[in-house]
């Protein structure tokens, strides 16, 4: 077997720079959204079914636990959207350097934290 085959790196042996932490967060939020979509589709179906269904969905969302879960999924979505937009911009060739990635990473954090807090106020 050729010894130049790609290997899986031992991730536990690395110190993660900011960009790596943002990357793993992008993946984690992706997984959260994948399962969270089930909740969103359920709420959407219920709310579109009938006047009573709409009221039931509104009633469901009055509980603090439901609000928290919805906020969690929406937060994951907001981060994923901001970080994903950064990806698309960088794919276009903008800021495609080590320094550019560090700046874009900070912008990603500030923007998504602001949006997540705003979403919290909106949901509660």
């Amino acid at each position: 077997m050729k010894d130049t085959r790609p290997v899986n790196l031992d991730l536990t042996a690395f110190r993660f720079p900011l960009t790596a932490l943002l990357s793993i967060t992008h993946r984690v939020t992706g997984v959260i959204i994948f399962f969270g979509v089930a909740i969103l589709l359920y709420l959407l179906e219920l709310s579109l079914k009938s006047e009573a269904g709409f009221a039931e969905a509104q009633e469901l969302l009055t509980s603090p636990l439901a609000k928290f879960v919805l906020w969690g999924v929406v937060s994951g979505l907001l981060y994923h959207i901001v970080a994903g937009t950064k990806h698309l911009i960088m794919d276009w060739g903008v800021g495609e350097t080590l320094a550019g990635a560090a700046i874009a990473g900070r912008i990603t954090i500030v923007t998504s934290v602001a949006l997540i807090i705003a979403a919290g106020f909106w949901i509660w």
Partner: protein
């Protein structure tokens, strides 16, 4: 060259572009929903169901659910093949990864059919 049989399009480059195209669709749809919720009047059943009764909105929603399925599959496949590997899990990695991916594929199909039912069912 080894051709992967479980990724979306059998080609990393095609997967890469499919991930970007579906991302743009999902970004546009998310913005549409957020803006509709934020700028609309006080949310009521009448306004909400009226919004989803337009053919254009139904088509956009179906397109978004299709993009979501493509996007989610590529993402979950990437994660599974990065983390559910023999170097992390040992000899049973292939079985665990296939089990996980089959579960993801099932959920993707459920989302697709469920979405069609919601947006086009009635």
């Amino acid at each position: 060259m080894v051709t992967s049989v479980t990724n979306f399009s059998r080609s990393g480059l095609s997967d890469w572009i499919a991930q970007r195209v579906s991302a743009v669709v999902l970004l546009a749809y998310s913005l549409f929903i957020f803006i509709s919720l934020l700028t609309g009047p006080e949310l009521s059943y009448a306004a909400w169901s009226e919004l989803f009764s337009h053919t254009a909105v139904r088509l956009f929603s179906l397109l978004a659910i299709f993009a979501l399925c493509v996007h989610a599959w590529i993402g979950m496949w990437t994660i599974a093949t990065d983390y559910l590997t023999a170097s992390h899990l040992g000899a049973s990695a292939t079985a665990i990864r296939f089990g996980f991916l089959i579960g993801c594929a099932l959920l993707v199909v459920i989302y697709l059919l469920w979405g069609i039912q919601i947006f086009w069912g009635s």
